[in-house]
């Protein structure tokens, strides 16, 4: 029994840390009429497969920087692609003239400012960073 605790306790802690991972959500301006989006819809917008929201209106995705803690999690959960797969996907799209990756914006504050000001822009943030200017439309 004691052995069990000794083994189970640290692994529970490690598991707990895994769960404490950032909770990433897709966000739009509080002024936007967009409400709920599915994972597939968000994925299509961020992979450049569509340039409009499902109910109409131009959709312009913006990206976090490569070292952002939420970026990998967002793409893994929304699109099922790892960072390496995504890089290779965009190389393919860019050099076949099909599209270019979303514009990269540095920092949660700047991202929030851009989204709040323009209902066409969609981005992603850690859930804890949401305030009254923006709203979550998809939590994977």
């Amino acid at each position: 029994m004691r052995t069990f605790f000794r083994l189970a306790f640290p692994s529970a802690m490690i598991f707990g840390l895994g769960l404490a991972h950032a909770d990433v959500v897709a966000v739009v301006s509080a002024k936007s009429s967009v409400t709920d989006l599915t994972k597939d819809q968000v994925s299509d917008i961020f992979l450049g497969k569509t340039s409009t929201f499902p109910k109409g209106g131009q959709a312009v995705p913006i990206d976090q920087t490569g070292d952002s803690p939420v970026r990998d999690e967002f793409y893994t959960k929304m699109t099922g692609r790892t960072a390496a797969q995504l890089k290779s996907y965009w190389a393919k799209q860019t050099f076949s003239g099909k599209g270019t990756p979303p514009k990269v914006i540095s920092g949660d504050a700047e991202i929030k400012k851009l989204i709040a000001a323009n209902p066409n822009i969609i981005g992603y943030l850690d859930k804890s960073k949401i305030d009254a200017t923006v709203k979550a439309v998809c939590a994977p």
Partner: protein
């Protein structure tokens, strides 16, 4: 060559009309590039190993020209529905040296969501990866299997294509129709191909893509007589969790020159991603097709279709962001024929591509791919 320069000049002028500032999202120029530095060594001195009908290539000495290339691409985006793309590519083609050419120069219009119309010069959609085939960084393998990708004889389209893309639930369907002109390259000679038509159908889900397509022309100008040529292909590719797999089957056909040109090709590629390392294996095969009714023609000209089978194993290592390293070892068996990957630039005319390879050949290649 003159035409190439004209296209480049027109494209540059065209891109000049787009605003060259970057205020706000959507209005901007993007400049990007890709490249490969590759070394290849083969186990034979009977002829030189290349791919995609290159003249000359690797022998028992190390060759750096076969796989190396450098591409630069400029995209000007006027607004959310109008853009122009120019891509210049330096690579070795059938001239036995690296040369620079304007690979693409097209204007793209997206009048409504899902509909794309392009006009200008662009890649012919012959395969599952036609338009990024020169971008080593975008593919798992070190180089596309020549038994299939080396068969296409109309690499570029000068004309227009229309693509409609529609998502139905988790499936994205896209249909393309194309028309225009091209240049057919065979045994080191170029032939004008007019009235080129084609269609392409693609079904895509989150982890699997299916593709079927055909390109044809009845107007390849050979010795003043129009000749018929067609290329049909089917393919599937899977990228799920850590599994990557891809397979294609293609049919190259000609009317009058049936027995010189006609061939079937196929390959099967499978790989598994272990973090930054992706080991893979490919089996690929070309089988010439024969029609007894066209037999007499066969005696006059060397065959373009020969037997060739390759077993390849390799690994892709995603060493840094935007840089990968690849290593590939392959065993190429031509069954005593000249195959389709070998040539000898020291011979004359079509004979340069007609050297029998008597033994199976081992080829070792190492590449560094990068994008910027």
């Amino acid at each position: 060559m003159k035409f190439r320069v004209t296209v480049a000049a027109a494209a540059l002028m065209m891109s000049g009309i787009f605003p060259a500032y970057a205020d706000g999202l959507g209005d901007y120029f993007t400049y990007s590039g890709f490249g490969t530095l590759g070394a290849v060594r083969s186990s034979t001195d009977e002829a030189q190993f290349g791919y995609n009908r290159q003249l000359g290539g690797a022998t028992e000495g190390v060759d750096f020209e076969t796989d190396s290339d450098l591409g630069l691409q400029l995209t000007g985006k006027a607004n959310d529905w109008l853009s122009a793309t120019v891509q210049g590519l330096a690579e070795k083609t059938d001239a036995d040296r690296i040369s620079m050419a304007v690979e693409w120069a097209f204007v793209k219009v997206q009048p409504i969501d899902g509909l794309t119309i392009r006009g200008g010069r662009m890649a012919m959609p012959t395969f599952i990866v036609s338009d990024s085939i020169n971008v080593g960084y975008a593919t798992t393998w070190l180089r596309a299997p020549n038994e299939v990708y080396g068969l296409a004889m109309l690499p570029l389209l000068e004309g227009a294509d229309v693509t409609y893309r529609k998502s139905v639930g988790p499936v994205a369907l896209s249909v393309t129709a194309l028309g225009g002109e091209s240049t057919l390259r065979a045994l080191g000679t170029n032939y004008e191909a007019r009235d080129v038509r084609g269609a392409n159908l693609q079904l895509e889900t989150e982890w699997v893509t299916f593709r079927a397509g055909r390109v044809e022309t009845s107007e390849v100008e050979v010795g003043g007589t129009p000749r018929q040529y067609s290329f049909t292909g089917f393919g599937a590719s899977v990228d799920h969790n850590n599994i990557v797999a891809q397979a294609e089957f293609v049919q190259r056909r000609a009317g009058y020159y049936y027995n010189i040109v006609s061939a079937n090709g196929w390959y099967l590629m499978g790989g598994y991603r272990f973090g930054k390392f992706t080991p893979y294996a490919i089996y690929s095969s070309t089988d010439p097709q024969y029609n007894p009714d066209s037999a007499p023609v066969q005696l006059a000209v060397p065959l373009i279709s020969n037997i060739q089978k390759t077993v390849a194993a390799g690994v892709r290592w995603d060493a840094f962001s935007s840089v990968d390293f690849k290593l590939q070892v392959e065993r190429v068996n031509t069954d005593g024929t000249p195959g389709i990957s070998f040539s000898d630039p020291d011979l004359a005319g079509a004979l340069r591509f007609d050297v029998p390879i008597t033994h199976p050949v081992t080829v070792v290649s190492a590449n560094v791919d990068f994008v910027f």
